[in-house]
Symmetry: C2
Subunit: 189 residues, 2 copies
C-alpha cells in the first residue's frame, strides 16, 4: 500500500483523509503465472497496481502472431484505460507472466473516488498521460533499429525483467524471432 501512495503522490498532493479514502478502496489481488488480469473481448473492470511480479500486455495481429506490446513490473499501474474508461471491449490480453500480487480498485470504487476527491481526477490524468508517453518513447524507437540494438534498448528499459520471463515474450516484444534473439545474445556475450 505504501508503495502505491508514494507512487500517486508523485503526481500531486493529497491530505491524510484523502489518502485514507483511497486506501480503504484498494484490495490485494493475487494473479498466478499465466492467468489473465483482463482479456480481449471483455471490458476492463479494474485498475491495478503491481506490488510484485511482472505483467505483459499482448494481442494477436492479422497473421495470428502473438505480439507483446509492453511489460509492466513492480510499482506501476496496470489498466486497459481505453476499455475501462469507455466501457468498450478491449483488444488486448493483460497477463501475469510471473505470480503477481496486485492492488486493485473496482470500477465503481474508482469512479466514486474520482467524484469524491477534489484533484484526484487531475492526478489520474497526469498518471495516464505519463504512462502513454512512456509507451510511445519505449516501443516506437524500436522501429528504426536493428535487432541487436532493439535488444539492448529492451535491457535498458526493463533491466530487472529479462531473467524472470521466457525469451519468447521478449522476442515478440522486439519484433524478432526467438532464435534470432538467442543468436543475438550469444554474440553479445
Amino acid at each position: 500500500m505504501k508503495e502505491f501512495i508514494e507512487y500517486i503522490l508523485q503526481f500531486g498532493s493529497l491530505n491524510h483523509q484523502q489518502i485514507e479514502l483511497i486506501s480503504k478502496k484498494a484490495i490485494v489481488l493475487e494473479v498466478k503465472k499465466d492467468e489473465y488480469f483482463s482479456e480481449a473481448g471483455k471490458v476492463a473492470q479494474q485498475v491495478g497496481f503491481v506490488l510484485d511480479g511482472i505483467i505483459r500486455v499482448c494481442y494477436y495481429n492479422n497473421k495470428g502472431e502473438e505480439i507483446t506490446k509492453y511489460f509492466i513490473d513492480e510499482n506501476n499501474l496496470v489498466v486497459d484505460i481505453e476499455s475501462f474508461d469507455n466501457d468498450i471491449c478491449s483488444n488486448a490480453y493483460v497477463q501475469a507472466i510471473t505470480d503477481c500480487k496486485l492492488l486493485v480498485f473496482s470500477k465503481k470504487d474508482w469512479r466514486e473516488l474520482l467524484d469524491t476527491i477534489v484533484g484526484w481526477d487531475a492526478m489520474v490524468h497526469k498518471i495516464i498521460s505519463k504512462a502513454l508517453r512512456q509507451k510511445v518513447e519505449r516501443r516506437s524507437p524500436l522501429v528504426s533499429e536493428d535487432a541487436t540494438t532493439r535488444y539492448l534498448m529492451f535491457l535498458k528499459i526493463y533491466p530487472n525483467v529479462i531473467n524472470r520471463i521466457p525469451l519468447s515474450y521478449v522476442a515478440s516484444y522486439l519484433g524478432i524471432t526467438q532464435s534470432s534473439l538467442s543468436r543475438i545474445r550469444k554474440n553479445i556475450r
Copy 2:
C-alpha cells in the same frame, strides 16, 4: 478557424463566449516547406493546428540517422507537449514538409485560456491523451511487421500524405531504407 472549433468541440462543449475567447487568441502562421515549427534543443513556444499542409516530427538517433516519428496533416494539433508544458528543451524537430498554414497560440495566451475557461483544461487533457494513444497505436505495431506490411499500414493511416512528400521521409518513418521501400512499391503494383 471553423475547422479548429469543430475539432475541439469533439472533446467537450463550449458556449459562444468561450469560443469567442479562444478564437481571439489564435493567429494564422505560415510555415514554408522545410522550415521548422519548433526545434530540438529549444523550448516549444506554441500550440499549432494544421489548417493546410503536412508536418513531420523527427529526431536523430544514436547512429546519427534521421528518424521520422510521425506525420501530422490537416485538422490536427501540433505541439511538442512535453517541452511546451514543462518548459524543457525538446529533442525533436517539428518541420513543415509542404508549405503549411497553421493556427497558433502563444504559450502565454494558451495558459490564459486554461485559467479563464472552465472545463478547457479537461478538454485539452482529452485531446492530448487521444493524440498520445494514437501515436502508440500507429507506430508501435510497425515493430512486429515486415517491411511490406509496414508500408500498407502507413497507407491506411495516412492515405493523403504519400503523394505529397518525399519517399525518404516515409522510409525513415517505417524504419526501412529508401531503396527497399522503392522495391516494395514496385512489388505491390
